[in-house]
């Protein structure tokens, strides 16, 4: 049986097209993955813009790392083969995603900070976050926000802001707090056992 040369060329061209498309998709996917690792999420970006206001362009030095569940899954897998202290292992087991943004180079006077922080509070509340901790001092200000939407025993998303005069650090962590709290409870039980009298009063 004879094969038609035109037909062969068409099959070869189709396969090449598929391979090229796959390579392009893979490249695009990789580029997007790399870009997402170097990008802040919407909430933290809005928070940064709110805190720095018009001066945001002056804060040129920036380091952003944004890693998701896949990376942390790999870290968990690797850590299972390494001997680690219990606390570190539990910490790794708790993490689901993390994002760190460090901005340097600009400067905001301490007197201007309270107004910016009040604005940031308003913005975060609108976006479904609540401020749990706020420590304002010189030279450092620390704020901790927790996302109320989707908050559950296996899902805690919190955002920590540390603001120095010329450095702003925004960290967002997505975690499953259960392993960490279990470890804390175990430590409390062994370090402060309940006296029998109190246990009886509480009906335990």
């Amino acid at each position: 049986m004879k094969t038609q040369p035109g037909h062969n060329t068409r099959i070869g061209g189709g396969a090449l097209l598929i391979v090229l498309s796959l390579a392009l998709a893979l490249g695009l996917g990789l580029a997007l993955a790399v870009a997402s690792v170097l990008q802040q999420s919407r909430d933290t970006r809005a928070l940064r813009d709110c805190l720095l206001g018009k001066q945001k362009l002056a804060w040129r030095d920036r380091i952003v790392v944004n890693t998701g569940p896949v990376t942390f899954g790999a870290v968990r897998l690797v850590s299972s083969f390494i001997e680690l202290p219990q606390e570190a292992r539990v910490g790794v087991a708790s993490l689901r995603g993390a994002e760190v943004g460090v901005f340097r180079g600009g400067s905001v006077a301490p007197e201007s900070r309270p107004a910016a922080l009040a604005k940031a509070d308003e913005l975060m509340v609108k976006r479904g976050w609540t401020r749990v901790v706020g420590v304002q001092g010189r030279p450092e200000t620390v704020m901790v926000y927790v996302r109320e939407k989707g908050l559950g025993e296996n899902n805690l998303v919190c955002c920590v802001v540390v603001w120095n005069e010329n450095e702003l650090v925004i960290v967002k962590v997505k975690s499953d707090p259960e392993p960490l709290l279990r470890l804390a409870a175990e430590k409390i039980r062994t370090e402060h056992p309940l006296p029998l009298r109190v246990a009886r009063q509480a009906g335990l």
């Binding site: 309270p114 749990v132 706020g134 420590v135 109320e148 707090p177 279990r182 409390i188 402060h192 109190v198």
Partner: protein, 191 residues
């Protein structure tokens, strides 16, 4: 003119209604300390605000391993802590505010369980109870003359014995004592 009156009536009605809703929703143990601003000298300024959503999450987490703590958390509504560093500019305002909070609490029938007045320290602990059985609110007001003002409000519906458990677990002496005292008082009321 008529439309003006209608609008005025609607505004008054809306205000009254929102007031009634607020009164219904505000738990009896909740206090309004007012808004605090950081000291201009750059001193200490700490705000902690733990809402019901976060408490619910913590309750679910400790339910299995720490049922006594979960029992207490289940009955908690909110925790608020404010620490403001004192300086020459805000000292008198904060001292006045602390006095006003104490007076208001006494007027509203809160029980003063601790009162320490030393040369440089002024501490008051108030408790709001529901017929002597459960603690609906705990308020702590501290003025350390050279250092800071502290305002704490814990809101919930807490049994005294649960307070003692938490005091023992976390080694908090005032809670241990308060829990034991309140438990003894509740037992006496029962008899």
């Amino acid at each position: 003119m008529k439309s003006y009156k209608t609008a005025l009536f609607a505004a008054v009605a809306a205000l009254a209604l929102s007031g009634a809703v607020w009164a219904q929703e505000t738990p009896p143990g909740q206090i309004e300390f007012g808004k605090f601003t950081p000291p201009s000298s750059g001193g200490e300024f700490v705000e902690i605000n733990v809402s019901k959503a976060l408490i619910n999450m913590a309750t679910k987490l400790v339910e299995k391993d720490e049922p006594e703590i979960a029992g207490l958390l289940k009955n908690l509504i909110s925790v608020r802590v404010n620490v403001v560093g004192l300086d020459s500019k805000n000292r008198s305002e904060l001292e006045q505010r602390a006095r006003k909070v104490r007076q208001d609490l006494e007027k509203k029938g809160w029980e003063k369980v601790v009162s320490v007045q030393k040369q440089k320290e002024d501490v008051s602990v108030f408790v709001k109870t529901s017929e002597g059985e459960t603690v609906q609110g705990l308020a702590i007001v501290v003025i350390e003359a050279e250092k800071q003002a502290v305002f704490v409000n814990v809101v919930g519906d807490i049994k005294p014995e649960q307070l003692a458990v938490v005091g023992e677990r976390f080694n908090i002496d005032p809670l241990k004592k308060l829990g034991a005292e309140k438990h003894a008082a509740a037992e006496q009321t029962e008899k």
